[in-house]
């Protein structure tokens, strides 16, 4: 496996400034092009995004197959979260195109993406501590009566929340409990439950296991596996923990300097390979940094 990987590694190169070509990094060459017969549920091409002078995404190509769990790895600040926010409609890309089930889509809001079956669970969970479990589950998708008045149907929302949480195996003391009183694992499970409650086809998870203990992680890992294997949900998961990624994912992408620079099936790589790649990449960056300092 390691040998196959090394064969993919060209000479390290530099990629700074506004160069729009993919980086000549240690990882280039590992990216595979889309197979014409792949059943893609989500595809993004040449996604670019800048914040003022800071160029975050320079031309990201990413694809997600139906029922697949795709892991997304990259350094802090590499643009993983930005890419997620673009794919779920929270931010708009400067350039590039997104396709859902091979249909071209143009998201102007989270609701637009939601209408296409895309839900996201953000790093900050997007939960409201002062609201109850059921209020969080239904946030912005509340059941209401009296038209524009929007009078909440609390009893129905409580009942449906209890049913749904039971169906996906999430246990909380009460759906009337404030989310702020729950443990980290329970909150993450609630965030996942909210994302999947509306029969989401594509789930985008930004560090779903961050700062979580083993017991709490197990709760979320089991839930993710269940959603993928038994409910057919396709997912992109950002995580820095390779053990988690190798347990959950079918395929791995590395986002680096604004491009996807590595794309491998989990079965074709290993944690050791990935560590080796990231370490060589780190050394390359240190070398570049030292050269720039000398200059």
């Amino acid at each position: 496996m390691s040998g196959a990987l090394e064969a993919d590694l060209p000479e390290p190169g530099n990629n700074v400034g506004n160069d729009t070509s993919p980086p000549r990094s240690s990882l280039v060459g590992a990216v595979k092009s889309s197979h014409p017969h792949e059943d893609l549920v989500l595809r993004a091409e040449k996604i670019k995004k800048s914040f003022g002078a800071l160029v975050v995404l320079r031309g990201v190509d990413i694809r997600l197959r139906r029922g697949e769990v795709l892991g997304l790895v990259g350094d802090n600040g590499s643009g993983k979260s930005t890419l997620m926010k673009i794919l779920c409609g929270f931010q708009r890309q400067d350039d590039g195109e997104v396709f859902v089930n091979e249909k071209h889509v143009d998201f102007h809001s989270v609701q637009d993406a939601r209408n296409e079956g895309i839900e996201a669970v953000y790093q900050d969970l997007a939960l409201v501590p002062q609201l109850t479990v059921y209020q969080n589950l239904f946030l912005n998708r509340e059941l209401t009566r009296f038209g524009k008045i929007g009078w909440l149907k609390n009893t129905s929302m409580r009942r449906l929340s209890e049913q749904y949480l039971a169906a996906i195996g999430v246990k909380v003391a009460s759906v009337d409990a404030l989310v702020g009183s729950l443990s980290g694992g329970q909150r993450q499970a609630i965030a996942l439950a909210r994302a999947t409650r509306q029969d989401a086809e594509i789930l985008l998870l930004d560090e779903p296991l961050a700062a979580m203990g083993a017991k709490e992680s197990a709760l979320v890992i089991n839930l993710v596996k269940d959603l993928s294997q038994n409910h057919g949900v396709s997912m992109i998961i950002i995580d820095h923990n390779y053990t988690h990624l190798f347990e959950l994912c079918d395929r791995l992408n590395i986002l680096q300097e604004g491009y996807i620079t590595y794309d491998q099936e989990i079965s074709d790589t290993s944690i050791g390979d990935l560590n080796e790649l990231m370490i060589s990449e780190y050394r390359r960056r240190v070398t570049i940094g030292q050269s720039e300092l000398k200059a």
Partner: protein, 319 residues
């Protein structure tokens, strides 16, 4: 005991309710006139604007924002009625147009906050002074009599003993229902407690904020017109900040957090009653009015101290 602390800490209104009952019993024992019909009417008329503006402030405090111009809108709305009436417009239309201007002021406040990102404290403070200055300029700093103080309109709007109290109760119930029973209220709390999270969930946080600024301006203007009709005259030099500070005091001692996401309209109503009882109680038992401000400050400190400690006790109970 642990359970009692738990219940009290979960319901922010309980503390101020106990304080309210104690004060009412104390003043009633000290002077029987305290619970006379006339005195209760006087108290209700004093409390009504505080409760209404306070209910509006609850929405904004729930958003972790504040409207410092609400008291000045309360005082300026009747001036709009007078100024529009000078062009021969009937009283009903004067009130409607005046309220429309109040809605515009609220929208302006909201736009300053969500579009220009001016902190609400600064934006509404500026609008407060603009309105105060406008009234002084437009009136030539001369007091005038309010219009619409006679007939059925006057009676319904404020002249009848209980009319202002009924309006206040109605508005407070509406705001309570809005906050606790509707999608809009849920989105308000969500925005105040975790604005980014609410936005990521798809809540239109900017729209929520602007609407809350509009609501407080509208109800402040409405109760301001009714209050002016009851009093019958307008003083251009009256400071709106006093009314606003009383309303915010009612919110704070009622259990609403300034940090957003935790708001209670019921607590604000009880807070307004406490302020009314204190003000009137001091008068009726013959204590100098100067003491009122001192005691008001002490009550704020005491209520906040108790609420903070109960909040910590609640956290420990949950942990």
């Amino acid at each position: 005991m642990r359970q009692v602390v738990g219940v009290i800490s979960q319901r922010a209104e309980v503390t101020i309710f106990i304080v309210c009952v104690v004060l009412i019993v104390y003043f009633s024992v000290r002077n029987a006139n305290f619970y006379s019909y006339t005195n209760i009417v006087t108290m209700v008329q004093y409390m009504a604007p505080i409760a209404v503006i306070g209910a509006g402030e609850v929405l904004l405090l729930d958003l972790a924002e504040i409207d410092l111009s609400s008291g000045q809108v309360f005082l300026t709305a009747p001036w709009f009625v007078i100024l529009i009436n000078q062009h021969g417009v009937p009283i009903g239309w004067c009130v409607a147009l005046s309220l429309l201007v109040c809605i515009g002021i609220g929208a302006f406040n909201g736009a300053l906050v969500v579009t220009l990102k001016v902190p609400s404290f600064v934006a509404t403070l500026g609008v407060n002074y603009v309105l105060a200055g406008y009234v002084l300029v437009a009136s030539d700093d001369v007091q005038t009599n309010m219009i619409g103080t006679t007939g059925h309109f006057g009676a319904v709007a404020g002249i009848a003993n209980w009319s202002e109290g009924f309006w206040a109760i109605g508005i407070v119930i509406l705001i309570w229902a809005l906050l606790k029973g509707t999608r809009f209220g849920l989105h308000t709390t969500a925005t105040g407690d975790n604005e980014l999270g609410a936005a990521e969930a798809g809540v239109k946080v900017r729209s929520v904020k602007v609407r809350c600024f509009i609501i407080i301006a509208f109800i402040s203007g409405l109760i301001g017109i009714f209050d002016a009709i009851r009093i019958g005259s307008l003083d251009p030099a009256a400071p709106g900040l006093n009314e606003m500070l009383s309303a915010v005091t009612a919110c704070v001692i009622g259990g609403t957090a300034l940090t957003g996401g935790k708001a209670t309209v019921l607590g604000t109503l009880i807070g307004a009653i406490v302020l009314g009882v204190l003000e009137d109680g001091f008068n009726i038992v013959g204590i100098s009015a100067n003491w009122f401000i001192l005691v008001e400050g002490a009550v704020i400190l005491l209520a906040m101290g108790v609420n903070v400690q109960l909040g910590r006790a609640s956290t420990r109970t949950l942990a």
